[in-house]
Amino acid sequence: MRPLEGLLVLEFCQFLAGPSAGLRLADLGARVIKIERPGKGEAGRKISIKDLFIEDDSLVFHTINRNKESYAANLKDAADLERVKRLIERADIITHNFRPGVMEKIGLDYDSVKRLNPKIIYAIVTGYGGRGPWANKPGQDLLVQSMSGLTWLSGSSNDGPVPFGLAAADIFCGAHLTQGILAALLKRSKTGKSVLVEVSLLESALDIQFEFLTTHLNDGGKLPQRTALKGGAHAYLSAPYGVYQTKDGYLALAMGNLLQLGEALRLDLASGYPDPFMWFDKRDEIISLIQSVIKTETTRKWLSVLEPLNIWCAEVLNYQEITQNEGYKVMGIAQQVELPDGSLLTTTRCPIQINQKKLYSKRPAPKPGVHTALINEEFEL
């Protein structure tokens, strides 16, 4: 039995942050019903990456919304709204990411919903916290990365700002939303009362920088210093931390004793850089020296030298390489969902294992409103 079996989630959220939380709750056993506009459904259905679609919905939409049901409702129509309200009475959790004021206008804000269902967990995702001068700015991942300072941490100091190449603010915000909802369920178990959960993309983007922000707030307000070289991996860590080109690919070197690494590479670092504090201050010099040696041999050769010495290193793989690797295959990360036409779609599974069981699910993403009649019947709406 999955841990959240028996819970009913109504998802008014669109795009990635909120729906990724809905996906996690679904994989953990909850029943998740998307409440969508009749016809078109949620806006995320049209947002694609690499222009890939399955029939009318983007592949990304399918990735984020598998294992859910869809209920069509026009929230501006009185009869539809009434049915949704009666569904809310039976729900445990509702999530939305409308801009401030929208749910108030519809009459589904927290105070109104609490009256319908005094035990509801009401969860809101905003871009920037819902108050202040940015409250109505679009809550979009790249914009939030750009405003949060995150773009000054990756790449080289010659690159200008380098964003994370995936929707990191969205994904972490979804993870935080899930944490908040689950903690709220524990609170509700004690109090028997409704709980309000609020997260924002900006606070989540700041939270993932908490180690550095704590450093920044206590080091006199210095800004992050990236290496000027290629392969830098962390503005706050000393050499050798980074990625190095070999004769036939790339090798990652994590933190460790630089002098031991020097010996293993037959590179004299001990006389020039004996003190660990120099490993940060002279980082670029040291990285150049290491790079000049690393590029003379293949990745495999370096792994065979460094791994037996317990030096933290790894080869750098792309998707083709990792998915051919036994270390990936043994984890059973891929799963197939069954599309309505009988074809199979391969995607990833939930990353959490419970009692040594992987959580797979074959249920695909729903077409807009495809479960409306069934849900009306089941809940007598």
């Binding site: 790249l142 190449g165 995936l166 994904i171 180690e211 307000g221 800004l223 290629k230 990625v243 990652a252």
Partner: protein, 384 residues
């Protein structure tokens, strides 16, 4: 009332992954006791260090371990282990991130602990799972980024691998562990039974990439296609990216190139129909990059924002912290250690019932809570 009040967490973990989960639990109201080795403690106190030392220990340790208690024990010593087992009997959650086999050798694996506490929720993070060729490899963030394909998503094509400049896999694995633990605590409230929750950094690294990996599974297995210029997402078309202006940088998210060409008064963009935004992204980005350099960021925002184009100014932390939009979040808190040392840090990003989850307690000195923990939680016969 904080949502996890009255929960007791016994945390054997080190570094960032699982400790980031116990920090969250502490902020949500749980009592978290770190079990640390005598003498050195969590390796993160010293080894994993920025060059910034605060009150004798790394700034990173202080960020991750505030709001927790520290209990030192030698887990190979029977007396000490007895104390720790007493704590576990009273605990709701046990967590660790040792390599496979370590907790078994110590007799602290799930099967052993559920015998003394059947309701325990036991959480563990490994690097690569408990089987397979990589199970004994070090579970370190940069190595996971490198193995999982993540380094080919950021930066421009031609720049080689570009890691994300913070421990993104560690933190997501911690977030997943916490999700699993909380879900099992919820179920325990109904069934009375504990559970084991397992997360690996490898699975978390793939989950982070679930959109792009799914695309790879379904696009014929093409390697990650970063754009040559202004890349911000390997799988998105123009204009998605960050562009230099006369006085700074401007971020542009997804949007119609034909609309942009009108608003920005950029005639060369008119050669590109909206259907070509992915296929011709490098050409479009080159045109945009040249055009946007001609004016200040503020000038462009004044045109684009009123037209509802998704755009933003790129800020660094200093600039961000001067903005009213940041100040209104009340994101920074000051905490105090037992010796009176005070430092600033960020707060928990989740609001519950309209309340910010702040806590004034700083990180613990190694072993500072041994006496209090023994007197409050352990009822052994008087020890000599």
């Amino acid at each position: 009332m904080k949502p996890l009040e009255d929960y007791l967490v016994i945390d054997f973990s080190q570094f960032l992954s699982a400790p980031s989960a116990s920090l969250r639990m502490a902020d949500m109201g749980a009592r978290v006791i770190k079990i640390e080795r005598q003498g050195t403690g969590d390796i993160c106190r010293h080894l994993y260090t920025s060059n910034v030392i605060m009150n004798g220990e790394s700034s990173v340790f202080h960020a991750i371990n505030r709001n927790k208690e520290s209990f030192t024990a030698d887990l190979k010593n029977e007396e000490d282990k007895k104390l720790v087992l007493e704590l576990i009997e009273k605990a709701d959650v046990v967590m660790h991130n040792f390599r496979p086999g370590v907790m078994e050798r110590l007799g602290l694996d799930y099967d052993s602990l559920r015998k003394i506490n059947p309701a325990i929720v036991y959480g563990e993070i490994t690097g690569y799972g408990n089987k397979g060729p990589w199970k004994d490899k070090p579970g370190q963030d940069l190595l996971l980024q490198s193995l999982s394909g993540l380094t080919w998503l950021s930066g421009n094509e031609g720049n080689g691998p570009v890691p994300m400049g913070l421990s993104v896999v560690d933190m997501l694995a911690g977030a997943h562990l916490l999700q699993g633990i909380l879900a099992c605590l919820y179920k325990r409230g109904i069934s009375g039974e504990g559970a084991m929750v397992q997360v690996s950094m490898l699975e978390s690294a793939f989950d982070l990439q679930f959109e792009t990996i799914t695309t790879f599974y379904n696009d014929g297995g093409v390697v990650q296609p970063r754009s040559e210029k202004n890349n911000a997402h390997a799988y998105l078309g123009a204009p998605y990216g960050i562009y230099q202006t006369k006085d700074g940088y401007l971020a542009l998210a997804m949007g119609s190139v034909s609309v942009l060409s009108e608003l920005l008064n950029c005639n060369e963009l008119k050669d590109f129909p909206d259907e070509s935004q992915y296929i011709k992204r490098d050409e479009i980005k080159a045109v945009l990059a040249a055009h946007l350099k001609s004016k200040n960021t503020g000038d462009w925002l004044a045109v684009l924002e009123p037209a509802d184009i998704w755009c933003a100014k790129v800020l660094n932390w200093k600039e961000l912290m001067n903005e009213d939009g940041f100040k209104v979040l009340d994101m920074i808190q000051e905490v105090e250690m037992n010796d009176g040392y005070r430092y600033k840090t960020t707060r928990c990003p989740i609001k519950i019932d309209g309340q910010l989850l702040k806590s004034p307690k700083g990180s613990p000195m190694l072993g500072e809570d041994n006496e209090a923990v023994i007197s409050e939680l352990i009822n052994l016969p008087a020890r000599s």
